[in-house]
């Protein structure tokens, strides 16, 4: 039982990958430019999902994927043409498949009628297009109603695995054996099919393949029983048989047709296919393989008859038939069934270069490496206390250790790293939908998809990017007519790129639309009370107004955007990840949104500061500068709080020791330091601290897992001496200080400030 659920999990994992393959393929499909490899890849993906679903008894999933697969099959046979409608239907079908998988995964029944519409659409697509003239000669023989009427065999195939394609292939040539057009045109094939003993376990059924071969021509099938163990030793679940098939078929039946039959078991068997000129019937023990072939191990019949000259002998463990090889190429990396091209070892293509690892295990590893970094920093700190010059070797050893630790950390982090392509690949679809909704023509160009970044960052990129691309299409790009009028190509371009830059990942969304209409933005901002009328703002400042909450320039709320939630959410999400976003716009030429994010969320660049005996870490992204104010720079504001003049601007001072009730701290800003910090929304604050100790990369630790969240504290970390330091949350500090203005002046040390007495109305407003 437990075992089954484990397999199920693997099935769902693989299905998710297959879904992604199918979706990517579907999105690349377009009318008039049909890449058959792509179609095949989609077909195979859907088919594999169906096969597994059958094995686990997910009947809805089987039924639906069968419909889906039928259409894909017709598509790959060229029986129906690719149209935009059809692609849309197929994409919808793919979504549904995902939903059904989700239902199956949650062990709930899908809502009744969920698939009805799409099934109808799929069937309609079949029916509507079947009547059209078959665009390719291949289709001629496919006239019999191959798959619109699923029969027993098909259903069985769903359960037993992958013989469906074989049956279809076979059915497509129902007549050839009868039509015998003279032996001169006939080719005889000798096929040695020696499945691995666990072939049945993967749900394949050799009988179907043999039957399929029979439909290709006259097949003379010999079954070898040599390996059959005594009855007592027989394991009913293993396959002990192998076959030699002599197939006499029409010349039109090419090698690929035979390969197709074995397409789904190519990894699980030794297969030798050789064609020979019309020869007298041979020979039950067939050709011992030509040079490259691994000698069949147990089956020792070093037959004296050196078989027919192996004209086209190839062996098909590990290596794949031309057709599959090509489509594997199209799938690029990460295929669900790795069929690597190397024939190293006769292990039948089981060599794979990736392993699936539980994320928990990796996280544990990341944690341990974090510990090591801390321990190493600890040792380094103690070593500094030793008399210099005496422990030269220890010093050197430690330096090496430090270097290795750094490398180890980088390697471990790179395990968690994923290419951003998993996010980028969702965007073509989004662009397509947005384009349809807005009636604009949009091309999406992407670059740098292989840029790698931590998994958590990748996951958190989806929403911001979705917003940004929608925004670019909805607000940035002009309609096709307008574009033509101003001499731009009808279709607008949105360019999405990613690259590493100085330890961060930089993602840009560029469009060639109209750019930000600054006059409109400004008047809108004034109208909404976000900017004082008459304020003079630079172009850059105006551009950045679009990130303010509640801002939208769309004249009317469209389905896509314009509700005034969007860019502010983007900014908030991005800064929650420790990133920044900026916009650069040229009127008439387009806008460019630049996102910069840390490569990982596990470490943070911080500034260590001290207040009293406590030390804290301020995220570097929040820090503008630190300075020691002169007495003339400080002013009291209506006796409530202190303000400081910094670079021509008054900023409010927040005394960290008062806010946190820390004793023995420097109370005079002119004797301590003021760290000028900036929150995500751009507001500034002067944080009064005792000292700034230095910059350091710190490992982020949760305070909540064993305790709870605290106001003004984002997380915690462990410093080099093993002590815990809190990582400050600047926005939280600002909130705390806002409604404790009085207590800033009165100086309560070590008593809880009323700051925490509950959210004031003002806080609620701003939260």
């Amino acid at each position: 039982m437990d075992d089954l659920s484990r397999f199920k999990q693997t099935y769902f994992d693989e299905s998710a990958e297959l879904m992604a393959v199918a979706e990517a393929g579907l999105l690349r499909l377009s009318p008039g430019d049909v890449d058959m490899d792509e179609v095949n890849a989609i077909f195979r993906a859907v088919h594999s999902i169906k096969g597994g679903a059958g094995a686990f008894g997910f009947s809805e999933l089987v039924a639906f994927s069968h419909e889906f697969e039928t259409v894909m099959d017709e598509l790959r046979n060229g029986a129906i043409p690719v149209t935009t409608d059809l692609i849309d239907t197929l994409i919808r079908a793919n979504d549904l498949l995902g939903q059904l998988l989700g239902c199956a995964g949650d062990e709930i029944d899908p809502p009744p009628g969920l698939t009805d519409d799409t099934v109808a659409a799929l069937r309609h697509a079949l029916a509507a297009n079947r009547t059209g003239d078959p665009p390719q000669p291949v289709a001629e023989s496919a006239a019999p109603p191959a798959s619109a009427t699923p029969d027993d065999e098909d259903d069985e195939a769903g359960i037993f695995g992958d013989a469906l394609a074989a049956i279809h292939a076979a059915r497509a040539d129902d007549d050839p054996p009868g039509t015998g057009s003279g032996t001169a045109d006939r080719v005889r094939w000798t096929i040695r099919f020696r499945p691995k003993s666990d072939l049945l376990l993967s749900g394949n059924e050799p009988a179907y393949m043999l039957r399929a071969l029979r439909r290709l021509g006259e097949a003379d099938i010999h079954c070898h029983l040599d390996d059959l163990p005594a009855l007592a030793d027989l394991d009913a679940e293993l396959l002990h048989l192998s076959w030699t098939i002599t197939l006499t078929a029409d010349a039109s039946v090419g090698r690929d047709r035979i390969d197709d039959v074995f397409e789904f078991v190519a990894d699980d068997c030794d297969l030798q296919i050789s064609a020979d000129a019309p020869l007298p019937a041979v020979v039950e023990p067939s050709a011992p393989a030509a040079s490259a072939a691994p000698p069949p191990p147990a089956r020792t019949e070093p037959s004296a008859v050196p078989g027919p000259p192996a004209a086209q002998t190839t062996t098909t463990p590990a290596t794949t038939s031309p057709a599959t090889a090509k489509s594997d190429g199209a799938k690029t990396d990460g295929p669900a069934k790795p069929r690597s091209g190397n024939s190293g070892g006769d292990h039948g293509g089981l060599t794979t270069h990736t392993i699936r690892v539980d994320l928990d295990k990796i996280d544990r590893l990341v944690n341990m490496v974090g510990e090591m970094v801390i321990t190493q920093a600890m040792i380094a700190e103690h070593l500094r206390d030793l008399p210099p010059g005496q422990f030269q070797e220890l010093q050197e050893g430690l330096e090496q250790l430090a270097q290795h630790t750094r490398e180890l950390r980088e390697s471990v982090m790179s395990i968690r790293a994923q290419p951003v392509s998993s996010v980028f690949s969702r965007m073509p679809r989004l662009v397509r939908e947005c384009a349809t909704m807005t009636g604009k023509e949009v091309l999406l160009a992407t670059s740098g998809e292989n840029t790698e970044v931590d998994k958590t960052v990748v996951e958190n990129l989806v929403d911001p990017l979705t917003h940004m691309i929608r925004n670019s299409i909805d607000h940035g790009l002009e309609g096709p007519e307008e574009r033509e009028r101003i001499g731009k190509p009808r279709a607008g371009t949105v360019h999405l790129s990613a690259q590493h830059r100085s330890g961060r990942i930089v993602i840009e969304v560029t469009d060639d639309g109209r750019g930000i209409n600054r006059a409109k933005v400004l008047s809108k901002a004034i109208e909404k009370g976000l900017v004082q009328p008459g304020a003079s703002l630079t172009d850059e400042e105006i551009d950045n107004l679009i990130f303010l909450p509640g801002f939208s320039t769309a004249d009317q709320v469209s389905n896509l955007s314009g509700r005034g939630v969007g860019m502010d959410v983007v900014r908030r999400n991005i800064s929650a990840l420790g990133g920044r976003i900026g916009v650069y716009s040229t009127p008439g030429e387009g806008s460019r949104f630049v996102l910069s994010l840390p490569l990982t969320l596990a470490v943070l660049d911080g500034m260590v500061i001290s207040v009293g005996e406590e030390r804290f870490v301020l995220p570097l992204t929040n820090i503008v500068e630190s300075l020691r104010p002169k007495p003339v720079d400080l002013h009291g504001l209506v006796n409530k709080c202190d303000v400081m003049m910094a670079r021509g601007e008054y900023v409010r001072l927040v005394y960290l020791h008062r806010l946190f009730g820390i004793p023995k701290a420097v109370d005079d800003a002119t004797r301590g330091l003021v760290v000028l910090v900036e929150t995500e929304d751009g507001s500034r604050l002067g944080l009064v601290v005792d000292e700034v100790l230095g910059q350091q990369q710190v490992v982020i630790k949760s305070l909540e897992s064993n305790f709870r969240r605290l106001d003004g504290v984002a997380a915690a970390t462990i410093l080099g001496d093993g002590r815990v330091a809190l990582i400050l949350d600047v926005a939280g500090l600002r909130e705390m200080s806002r409604h404790s203005g009085d207590s800033d002046r009165a100086r309560p040390t070590a008593t809880p400030t009323p700051a925490l007495a509950g959210p004031s109305p003002r806080q609620r407003q701003t939260v």
Binding site: D360, I374, F707, R708, L710
Partner: protein, 185 residues
Amino acid sequence: MSMSSSMALATVGGSRSDALSLNGTEDQYVSFTVGTEEYGVNILAVREIRGWTPESRLPNLPDYVRGVINLRGIIIPIFDLRARFGGGKTEVTKRHVVVVIQVGERTRGILVDAISDILAIGPDAIKPPPDVDSGLIDAEYLSGLYTAENRMVTLLNVDKLFANEHGDHQDPVDSRAIAANAATP
């Protein structure tokens, strides 16, 4: 699968303690002193006992929350039992110890004066706490009283003891109110 090993341990321990008490066999308790009083917690909840290491303070919390320490890479809060029971903040020395206990998925430390004993206590030997006004002592976190020779050991229910610090979005005002409660002699 995702369960941490320590948590698994606690679960196993929990079921074992049940089994033991069902058989009428004895449970083991770790007892420790705070001032002149002696307290005990079930040994199965205790992960380790360690010497005092300086804590990092947490801002704006009642003074029985001493702060946090680094326990081999995880950050755990330290509670001052003396302060919790209204005896004022403990002046720590090197001889003070922290009892690290596991409550559910959370690990936390209790600062006490010294470990005194390991006691094997049968269920029959535990006397219920006397009927005291709940305004006087919040009896919820007391699981019973035990007499060892002629000392009285107050057995603590660690689940309840810092229950008010469990919640993530717990209003700090409450905790202070409870602290004030506890401080009332």
